[in-house]
């Protein structure tokens, strides 16, 4: 009886202590591309817990009101968290061992986003024909300048 009681105390204590353990040591090891910066839009433990709340909220704002702020945009998540293989090609974020899939496999939570959403960044989100107006807009708003987009602009300028 005493043994069982001791075991219970130990279990309780370990539960209490595990609550105080740093979030970083919880869960599987993630492949994180630090080249794009060392910080997520929120601290990691908050993102772990609340990423879907933010994404859901943003999704409705974007879909219905055209609000396309970058902070909680799924597209920006992918831009940062998609890794490249040895050949320099992007690996889908929902592939086994990749950023999204690792935790979702660990927690047995189905990942539905990527039945519709792109799983890797596209070289350029801009139409190949970059007009002056688009270029001006990109300069003002610091839109992502991908290599092919810059090439297109250079080609256009060279042609003149």
């Amino acid at each position: 009886m005493k043994q069982i009681r001791n075991l219970f105390i130990i279990l309780t204590l370990s539960l209490v202590m595990s609550g105080g353990v740093m979030a970083d040591s919880v869960g599987p090891e993630l492949k994180i591309n630090r080249a794009n910066g060392d910080k997520c839009v929120l601290p990691a433990d908050e993102m772990r817990k609340d990423h879907m709340t933010h994404l859901d909220h943003q999704r409705d704002d974007t879909m219905h009101d055209g609000i396309r702020t970058k902070k909680f945009s799924l597209k920006e998540c992918i831009n940062c968290h998609a890794n490249k293989d040895e050949a320099g090609q992007y690996i889908p974020v929902n592939a086994p061992g990749e950023f999204c899939q690792t935790c979702h496999a660990y927690t047995s939570v189905k990942l539905d986003c990527f039945e519709c959403h792109a799983t890797k960044p596209r070289d350029t989100a801009f139409h190949p024909i970059v007009t002056d107006k688009m270029k001006a807009f990109a300069d003002v708003h610091e839109a992502p300048k991908t290599k092919s987009m810059l090439d297109a602009i250079a080609k256009k300028d060279g042609a003149k």
């Binding site: 219905h64 609000i67 597209k75 039945e115 519709c116 688009m134 807009f137």
Partner: protein, 253 residues
């Protein structure tokens, strides 16, 4: 609330002040930049009904056999030839956001072609029949499908008089980051909503049309090119008898 009003007032004041300053003094290149800026809505501001986006298609200018607009749409929105998906679907099942239609006058034998896509109705029948609220019209007049809510019942496809919508029959993997598409949902022309929100001020089809047959613009702005053209020339709505007040208008049919 009050603070917001003051902020709005300040914003208006400053935007007018900079616009005036720019128009007066600076070189044409820089002025162009200012125009681009004025058109771009701040990223965190909701769309409003101050604008209504639309297209004017001049079927006299639309060249027979040309399908540049369709190809541009495919590559921009990653469907059809712009994507490696939908290999198992047959032609009647594959997505089709825009197509070219040839009209023939049986009496005179004259033929001409025009592009056909979602007409972005003011009173969209697809929105009326949608049982979940997935099919909706944005404040600026763009008719869209919220695929998070769409259950794939395809009532909207039956209701659309323009046959503008498609249903996705198979798993997709090759979507564009700005254009989510997926199995079990209905989709159609979005009027390149991601481009509009980015402030490009055009759609892929209008941009690609070398014959200048497609004109994109704000139907509510009397100074916009599209509004001026529509004031000058007689334009037609397809199936005007349905009183849908379409956002896509045609000339020469």
């Amino acid at each position: 609330m009050n603070e917001q009003k003051i902020d709005q007032y300040r914003r208006d004041f400053f935007s007018k002040a900079t616009a005036t300053a720019a128009t007066g003094a600076i070189a044409p290149g820089v002025m162009l930049m200012q125009v681009g800026q004025a058109q771009a809505r701040p990223l965190d501001e909701a769309v409003s009904d101050k604008q209504r986006w639309g297209l004017l298609v001049d079927s006299n200018k639309c060249a027979d056999g040309c399908s540049d607009c369709v190809k541009a749409c495919e590559s921009e929105n990653a469907w059809g030839s712009g994507s490696s998906d939908e290999q198992k679907s047959d032609a009647s099942q594959k997505a089709q956001w825009i197509r070219t239609v040839t009209l023939k006058n049986k009496l005179t034998g004259s033929e001409h072609q025009l592009p056909m896509m979602c007409q972005h109705c003011e009173e969209p029948p697809c929105v009326d029949v949608c049982p979940t609220g997935a099919s909706f019209k944005r404040a600026d007049g763009i008719v869209l499908v919220d695929k998070h809510i769409c259950i794939g019942c395809r009532y909207c496809m039956m209701a659309c008089p323009y046959k503008a919508r498609s249903f996705i029959h198979e798993n997709l993997h090759d979507q564009a980051p700005d254009v989510p598409r997926g199995k079990g949902t209905v989709e159609s022309c979005t009027l390149c909503v991601h481009k509009i929100d980015r402030g490009d001020g055009t759609t892929a089809c209008a941009e690609a049309c070398t014959h200048k047959a497609i004109l994109f613009g704000d139907l509510k702005d009397p100074n916009s090119e599209i509004a001026i053209e529509m004031k000058k020339h007689a334009t037609t709505q397809i199936r005007a008898d349905l009183n849908l007040n379409t956002g896509v208008r045609y000339r020469g049919i």
